[in-house]
């Protein structure tokens, strides 16, 4: 092993520790935030007894879940039943590895340890655990693995509610994968690259993609809700219909793992939205963050954290605002509204980018961004004031006149 490789390994291990610690602690605190947000929106105070302002509530919940009895239904498929929480927990954590969370940091060291030998590193360290060239294709691939955990949990519990939850989860997550994938294609069209690093650099020089690609953002975020099984798309859980859906039969730590997976998925979706459409760790209206350095890394990390948290808040905000969809409405929204919108949008953006570059001869990404933003305004009018008159969500039930 060369000293450079060993230096790289040391840095990666440090980054892994930092990212997973932050993710797991953050997820624990998110469970508290969720309860606080729900309380605030219902004019309540939320948990405030354990620790200052309830900050130790997640620790109390965790302790409770560890010492609770683990139940194992007699009729369950034991192996899959034990495996399912892991299958949904691990992909959720794996996703945190590919999202860049701060500006690159210049690191130079050269030291020797007994037995292990010499460690050398000199140059910029990208602030991401794995800077994959395939970028968010990896995210799409791994996030669709999460459905296995849920579907297997539903199947292996051998309970009708769990099975229904698992079935719904697989149908829903497969359906919404399509608009999710389609919503990312315009981003590739503009950036010409799938790696997160390149997309963020592209947004630093031009506009944040939320302006030129507003509807891609819209589709991505809405599909993100469905992918993370959050209200208004929480059909797999649906406590008023299915008790608790796929995790009805789970207790204690196994249930906790589903819970952690759900919140880790929310963090990932929020961080991806921030990275793809809101410039990632970019600090707006300044070019200071583009020169590497420790203060820049810390400040941009803080900005990324702020952006991610605001999207997490939006996810919770929507949950405590909207009621659950009916199942057929959910499918109709996915296949009859979001899929066509995604297809039309890809074609529209593709033609617009081609026209702007070849007919108008505009090369600057900022001008191009504003032209596309104008296009989005037009499309927005069409969607919010014309299509949004009873055409967005339609059930598949028979119309009243067909009942006679």
């Amino acid at each position: 092993m060369t000293p450079e490789l060993k230096g790289f390994i040391v840095l990666t291990v440090v980054k892994m520790l930092v990212v997973f610690t932050i993710t797991l602690v953050g997820v624990a605190l998110l469970t508290l935030l969720e309860r606080k947000v729900s309380a605030w929106m219902q004019n309540r105070r939320g948990p405030n007894r354990v620790g200052y302002a309830g900050l130790l509530q997640p620790a109390a919940d965790g302790l409770k879940n560890i010492i609770k009895e683990e139940t194992l239904p007699d009729e369950a498929n034991k192996i899959l039943f034990m495996l399912a929480p892991l299958l949904s927990f691990v992909p959720a954590l794996m996703l945190a590895a590919v999202i860049p969370f701060a500006a690159p940091l210049p690191v130079a060291f050269d030291f020797s340890l007994p037995v292990l030998g010499r460690f050398v590193h000199d140059g910029l360290v990208p602030m991401v655990v794995a800077d994959l060239p395939v970028g968010f294709l990896f995210v799409l691939a791994i996030s669709s693995l999460g459905v296995y955990g849920i579907a297997l949990a539903g199947w292996s519990s051998n309970s009708k509610y769990s099975l229904l939850g698992g079935l719904r989860a697989s149908a829903q997550m497969v359906s919404y994968e399509v608009p999710l994938g389609l919503s990312i294609i315009p981003v590739i069209l503009l950036s010409g690259n799938v790696s997160f690093g390149a997309i963020i650099t592209e947004q630093q020089t031009g506009l944040w993609y939320v302006l030129p690609l507003f509807f891609a953002f819209f589709l991505f975020f809405v599909s993100g809700f469905a992918e993370t099984n959050r209200l208004p798309f929480d059909m797999p859980e649906a406590e008023s219909e299915l008790i608790a859906g796929y995790h009805t039969e789970y207790s204690a730590m196994k249930f906790s793992m589903f819970f952690i997976a759900e919140y880790a998925n929310i963090v990932t979706v929020a961080a991806m939205t921030a990275a793809l459409f809101f410039g990632g760790w970019d600090i707006p209206f300044t070019r200071w963050d583009q020169t590497p350095g420790l203060p820049q890394t810390l400040a941009s990390g803080l900005f990324m954290f702020g952006k991610t948290m605001s999207f997490v808040f939006v996810v919770m905000w929507v949950r405590w605002t909207l009621p659950r969809f009916r199942y057929d409405q959910l499918m109709s929204l996915g296949w009859k509204f979001m899929l066509p919108l995604g297809l039309v949008y890809v074609m529209l953006i593709g033609s617009a980018v081609w026209l702007i570059e070849n007919m108008l001869g505009v090369g600057s990404p900022v001008t191009r961004g504003f032209l596309l933003f104008g296009l989005n305004l037009g499309l927005g009018y069409l969607i919010f004031f014309i299509i949004d008159r009873g055409h967005v969500v339609r059930g598949s039930t028979a119309r009243p006149e067909a009942v006679h």
Partner: protein
């Protein structure tokens, strides 16, 4: 539709989904900054908005006279009227011929808190109390004896609203 069921059609032209969602979200966001309704229970037990009614009927209290003796004369009316049969009374008599309770026990688990004992008592001795914090570590602690009934200090129920004595 055999029995004339009225079928309501869903409105289809004037409904919106996206805009309605945004409206709802604006509403919930505004609610985050409204004053909170929560009453922080162990610290605050009554607010200007809410307090226990003076007619509240909770665990009993036996009133005492100036010498600290219980006012009860062991007439036996309260065990007689008690619909839950939760009062155990063994009367005694001292050398002056004054009757007093040898044993006076109320099983608070059996009691239905109707307040008849207070209504029937000719000496205004037994009362139901304006009190609700009764937690104990064992079931046996819920049979209140005379000493315990006399030593409690919480306010007693008025059984009717003083501002509206006829209940109108």
């Amino acid at each position: 539709m055999a029995i004339g069921v009225k079928v309501l059609r869903r409105p289809e032209t004037d409904v919106s989904y996206v805009r309605a969602t945004l409206k709802g979200m604006a509403l919930t966001f505004r609610h985050m900054f409204r004053p909170k309704w929560t009453m922080q229970y162990p610290e605050e037990k009554s607010t200007t908005d809410w307090s226990l009614s003076p007619r509240w009927r909770g665990t009993h209290r036996m009133l005492t006279d100036q010498q600290g003796r219980s006012k009860c004369v062991a007439c036996g009316l309260c065990p007689q009227i008690c619909p839950a049969n939760c009062i155990k009374l063994v009367p005694g008599e001292d050398e002056d011929g004054n009757r007093y309770p040898l044993i006076y026990e109320i099983d608070e688990f059996r009691c239905v808190f109707c307040g008849y004992c207070q209504e029937v008592c000719p000496e205004e001795a037994i009362h139901v109390g304006v009190h609700y914090e009764n937690a104990e570590y064992g079931r046996d602690r819920f049979v209140y004896d005379l000493e315990r009934l006399s030593s409690q200090t919480h306010p007693v129920s008025s059984l009717w609203d003083p501002s509206d004595p006829k209940g109108e």
